[in-house]
Symmetry: D2
Subunit: 221 residues, 4 copies
């Protein structure tokens, strides 16, 4: 191990070794809105913290996606049971919150339409134990725009599984959040170097607006 | 976001909120040896760094596992092709190394026996695009001891997918490694709080030795 | 192709070539109750037929499993949306029924307890797009007893995926059903030769009763 | 159960209930060539039978696909080990053949180019325990043309998993084969009614030829 690599040095080292290339937008995106439910937004729960700025940015991306006819898929968590002893042991606080259906309801401010699916996932990644990969194939998607929380948990895991499945991953930096700024930054760094392009939310909004004006990409043909 | 949470504060915050519980060993472990091939151990490649201490510790765990009749499964990477444009764009250095079969050969010092499987994985997690989960069910495994490299990449991802599948995850701290000590520590922190128990390698060696003496656990019946 | 192979000849041919061996019960079973909802039991729907005898046998197996502390998992179908155009084109009748939540409600006569999970699957196999494999690992299961409907659809597919994951598959013949006796028999033949042991329901009830008396198998320790 | 449903009656019943709709070709196909290795083509093995006509038709489809720049993916079987006891018990003949690497080598007459992947699958479906789904996403595929053997085993399973993932499935009838004509016909019937469109090989060749002339579909842009 190179014992002295600081974050800046690691960034440089990654650049030299060919990590962190740019993937860019494809032709047919979907928007994944991860775990925007009361449990994660209420600082009084085990899993929650104050995420008001993030929520504003998510709503902006959501409006832009809907205007550009980009399909939207929501997630929350649930379905824990007798088989989840390992989860209960490792994450007793989260386990209690996830078992509370009230905390797992999507925020009403998202104004989900009935045609926008909500996946109930048992773990962090939106792909694990769900039908998401088949849904994305059915929609002809090649790009996943990922927003929501938490950067160091469900966001990172979802980005990794999207990347694993050869989707282009885009993360609007101000539309994901975490309870800790250090965990937030460390995981944005890993995501950008390994799984997808982290960029300012304005850049994503601009791309969606251009797509709307032009009448959509190849996926809308 | 609680903008001022340092790592120590986050550790405390996690403890209060019920992250990082202890899972412990189950009754029927397997040892997963992740990506101990020349590419990751040779500092002159894109993906490699000097990992001599880690390798010594892996060999110790490997000897103890074999003595205790714990099944061993190895991984390396490979199989990239025309479908992997996204991987090529994001990780051009890794992509070149993974396409070089010589760099992906397991280290001979591991002395793999023909009955110990080697999985060729296309991405970081040993579970993605492989048959590992079925193999673990077929072996009646309830615990995954994970060693190898890199902590911030394949180790973290493999631990997460093992946890997702309700396996007890054990990481002997000195038997995993990374090219950066900061990435190593940050990801051990996340693994320990979210996916599995990080512990001194001596504790794992002790448990395996006790298992050997007692003639194995329930899985050997 | 051996153009003249009748079913009897194929049975003989399979035996000679080493198909259709016996797998037997393991030590730690789960009972999978597949798609016992109104849609499949009501002859007036697209997917339904009269299955009264099958239902009686399922209830007997269910009682025996609960008495022997064998975990029970139910499935139904649901969650179709805009991404399911291929399903809508190939199976328009089923698609309409599956989109009708009333038809997808489990039969009340099953008396599901809240601790018995119900998985909402998007396709035939209980493993596809669900978290079933992780649940079975979490429960330490090595054997899947499969009952429900339809033999030529969801039952066959579920048996195949259970077999793929190295689970021992047991099918009590009179506790699975199909709208067509020819499709029922043809698929029981394939299941028995390729995926699991098809046996009289009485044999399964006897094994469960013996397990109850003995205080359960190794999985209960 | 409607005890008297013959195959013809079942066909009629299926039609009335909305099974067996037409899916058709999409815009971006891939050709999956399933298990064309010596083991399945040599009548002296446990799994083999004489399939000369099928092989001629597969070669015709393969030539047409390559001429039309349709990506080709091959499969064979392999990788069995200590975890596969259930497979060994249920299919002892197949298990012995699959453990013989010589029988699992692709037929040289396929003239696979190095850029055409070959997936080593542990079970029937080309999707189970492999990275196929990610490869198809990376290639932007919406249609799977499936050829090879055996109709009642690997072909049916591969068609089902492709359908599950919302791919359009096309089966050129004379380019798939089975050791038994009855199993062949029964499974083509199920595939056509549940998973994909079974059509004369000439229709597939014609579609591929038209695609070649027109310079390819949307996927080539």
């Amino acid at each position: 191990m190179e014992h002295s690599l600081s974050n800046d040095a690691l960034r440089e080292w990654y650049r030299e070794r060919g990590f962190g290339g740019r993937v860019g937008f494809g032709q047919s995106p979907a928007l994944l809105v991860i775990d925007i439910a009361r449990g994660w937004l209420d600082p009084s729960t085990s899993i929650g913290s104050d995420q008001k700025d993030m929520l504003e940015n998510i709503l902006a991306v959501l409006r832009a996606a809907r205007s550009a006819d980009v399909p939207v898929i929501f997630t929350t968590m649930g379905g824990l049971g007798d088989s989840d002893e390992v989860f209960d042991l490792k994450l007793p606080g989260s386990a209690a919150d996830v078992r509370n259906p009230e905390l797992m309801q999507l925020e009403p401010i998202l104004e989900r339409s009935p045609s926008e699916p909500v996946l109930v996932k048992p773990r962090q990644s939106a792909f694990f134990g769900t039908r998401l990969v088949g849904q994305l194939i059915g929609l002809g998607v090649d790009t996943a725009i990922v927003v929501g929380s938490s950067t160091s948990g469900c966001i990172r895991s979802t980005c990794e599984d999207a990347f694993n499945n050869n989707l282009r991953v885009i993360v609007p930096r101000e539309a994901v959040g975490d309870r800790s700024v250090s965990a937030h930054e460390a995981n944005l760094f890993d995501i950008d170097n390994r799984f997808g392009d982290v960029m300012p939310v304005g850049e994503v909004l601009g791309w969606l607006a251009a797509r709307q004006t032009s009448g959509g990409g190849a996926g809308d043909g």
